[in-house]
Amino acid sequence: MVKVSSFAELETLRKSIVARRDPQKAMITVCGGTGCHAHGCEKVAAAFRQEIEQQNLAGKVDLRITGCHGFCERGTLVVVKPQDIFYQRVKEKDVSTILSETVAKGNVIERLLFTDLATKEKITRELEIPFYKKQNRLILGNNGSIDPTVIDDYLAVGGYAALARSLQRMSPEQIIDEVKKSGLRGRGGGGFPTGIKWESTRRAHGDTKYVICNADEGDPGAYMDRSLMEGNPHSVLEGMIIGAYAIGSDQGYIYIRNEYPLAVKNAQIAIEQAEDYGLLGKNILGSGFDFSVRINRGGGAFICGESTALMASLEGHVGEPRAKYVHTAEKGLWNQPTNLNNVETWANVPLIINKGADWYSKIGTRNSKGTKIFSLVGKINNTGLVEVPMGITLREIVYDIGGGIPGGKKFKAVQTGGPSGGVIPESLIDLPVDFDELTKVGSMMGSGAMIVMDENTCMVDIAKYYVSFLEGESCGKCLPCREGLKRLREILADISEGRGEDDDIDLLENLSVALVDGSLCALGATAPNPVLTTLHYFREEYDAHIKDKRCPAGVCKELITYCINNEKCPGCGLCVKACPVQAITLTGKKKPAILDQEKCIKCGACYDVCKLCAVDIK
């Protein structure tokens, strides 16, 4: 690779890359994201490679392994260009047909298309699928079309133009102004205005200043940062370089969890390629600005995503938070002014510089601008990563994009913001989703995890689940979080196991307040959210557990019994086979089965297996 040493050379390089590429040439893109890996995309890609070679098609068709499209549940995803035919659930065995039918003849293979559940219609183009229709994929958009390990792919779609523009035409102050004007707020959870953070770090006194990209992503269920890091690492890097220039930093770090091997690998490749071109390192694009980036792998503790714990961990200490009365913008990494932003935050920066703050700030709501990537999971038909403009309603996300609740079940609630977010009930389904609205109803944006729950979800059980998760992740430094979460979990366990007492609700509330007010860091201070929101919106469910020793959702084992419904049961014997402890017996042909309550361990296998819904939960 030749070093690019001026802005003009970058444009020449870009033009030559684009000129070398024929937009009309057939191309097969295979999604190489972690989700599709689980579906066997490596085999699909290998099969394409082999077939293309064997059939001598290399001159006619290109193969490209791309980043994650977000619709992971449907993997392996394959797109045939230039027609943009979108195939889902592609297996190795489909490869030769795709080549012989679609690539060679232009025929669409119906069985590989996505079928709209509602209309039963087959859909050919990715963006016409309802899952994508209401999305606005400003940040994720290129993921599915570029090979993250090939910097030329990123350059071909206009990559590093924002960096060139920043270095060539903008002063650091102008960049900060632009980011401030754009209204960009941190995507890592807190929603702190990015421009203001940059400004504080720029103004802080220190010999060296650092910028850090937080790619720790410890939130179970959230994987947008991984997807960006894997699928479009240069967009994150470009954001960081622009930020470093604006802040006055010459050293950056990407703190990334070790459990994300592909993200680590692709980030490393991206750094090396950017260095080779001279987009990182000394005298970037001949501007006189120096900046380098190093990757640091985290051990995977949830708390290491917290800013001060992350910096301690980067320094080689135990990842424990400290009080932030002196901001990290003043004294962060090695006590130097440090600016930490989330992966998605950084990836927004090139867009803002390219299109301008005025354009950017037209997307979203009054105080939350741009888009946000959510990971939509749980009891929902279409799961995956969705990027939507701020202000979209929960209803649109759950029904239009998510396709509603499977199995004809009723929507009950959605948990946003990860384990320390809140549970939002159905009555608030028309809530516009942005930083402030989510906080107002007791939840938060957090990392952007969105877990959908149906009528079979018990709210006491859910609160217990999240509290146990956080209890396991508490670093243990401060008293309220360490001891308080343990007690919260114990009380919730008592309630869900039938030992709840009237005073427990007060106790849960008092403990929660002590955690919110007293904890050292935001892990402890936000941990009671699941408890407080479920108490607020689903109080009657707690009362049923405590007073009537009943779990209305039929989840808490100690409070339910499985019974055979004699009117519905034809004695088919499926449940008899399913029961692991032989608690069910048949008494004769066409006679209902009998369930021995003494033996029943309430595993629910019979309930799950019965096709006629003849097992009742009481």
Binding site: A323, G476, C478, L479, E490, N510, G518
Partner: protein, 249 residues
């Protein structure tokens, strides 16, 4: 020495002058204003683990928040309330959590009384589980910051956290100086000298040390390992410590 700038602040309606850089808790103490605390000691850096020293502040610009006074530096125009209703109710839960954690600790019981708390709603832990350790880490911090040997530390994360020597085994690094015993606010670490033997018992590990006899008075006065350490750090000979401090005067 250059004197730091003075700032004016109000703590519980008292207008006070204080040196910039000091923490609210230090200034309150210097002025005989009581703020409960368990994890501070002037020998080490503030840490902010017990959260008992929580106070309510209003900054000069009118921003209100709760902060731990051991870590919050005084500033011009600050107004501090050390015992509002909100704080009292958080402190009540904190001390109740400690009462359940260390049911055997007189220090915790006395503090609870002082805070007007009689009982804890939480089930008591077995007395032998945590002993009297509240995990304030003062011992480990003194060992690291002052003694400089880091012989004991916090092991495990979160609810499983314990204070111990590495792998709960006798620590190579420990010099038996007893600084940890001295700083422990709840007397959770015991030290006993019998004859030429010193025993230090932490909540979950223990060690023995051989003591040196004073050539003059004959009392056993200092662990051999501490002498080795001092000799090494100060560049003196281990033989310089044959006479105890009292006999040397």
């Amino acid at each position: 020495m250059k004197k730091n700038k003075m700032v004016t602040l109000t703590i519980d309606s008292r207008k006070l002058q204080a040196e910039e850089g000091l923490m609210i808790l230090d200034v309150a103490r210097d002025n005989n204003i009581y703020i409960p605390s368990l994890c501070t000691n002037e020998a080490v850096e503030p840490y902010g683990a017990c959260r008992l020293c929580l106070v309510e502040i209003t900054t000069a610009r009118g921003r209100e928040r709760l902060v731990t006074s051991c870590l919050y530096p005084v500033e011009e125009g600050l107004t501090v309330k050390t015992n509002s209703e909100r704080i009292a109710s958080v402190r009540k839960v904190l001390i109740q959590l400690l009462m359940a954690r260390c049911p055997d600790s007189e220090v915790i019981q006395d503090l609870a009384k002082r805070l007007g708390v009689e009982t804890t709603p939480f089930p008591l832990e077995d007395k032998n589980k945590n002993k009297k350790c509240i995990l304030c880490a003062l011992c480990a911090r003194v060992c690291q910051e002052v003694v400089g040997v880091s012989a004991i530390s916090l092991v495990n994360r979160g609810v499983n956290r314990q204070l111990a020597t590495p792998f709960f085994e006798p620590s190579e690094a420990c010099i038996g100086c007893g600084s940890c015993v001295y700083v422990c606010p709840t007397h959770a670490i015991a030290m006993e000298d019998t004859g030429d033997k010193r025993e230090v018992r932490w909540p979950h590990s223990q060690m023995e040390f051989k003591l040196r006899k004073c050539k003059v008075c004959g009392s056993y006065w200092i662990p051999e390992r501490q002498i080795e350490h001092i000799a090494q750090v100060s560049g003196t000979s281990p033989d310089d410590y044959d006479v105890c401090f009292s006999c040397r005067e």
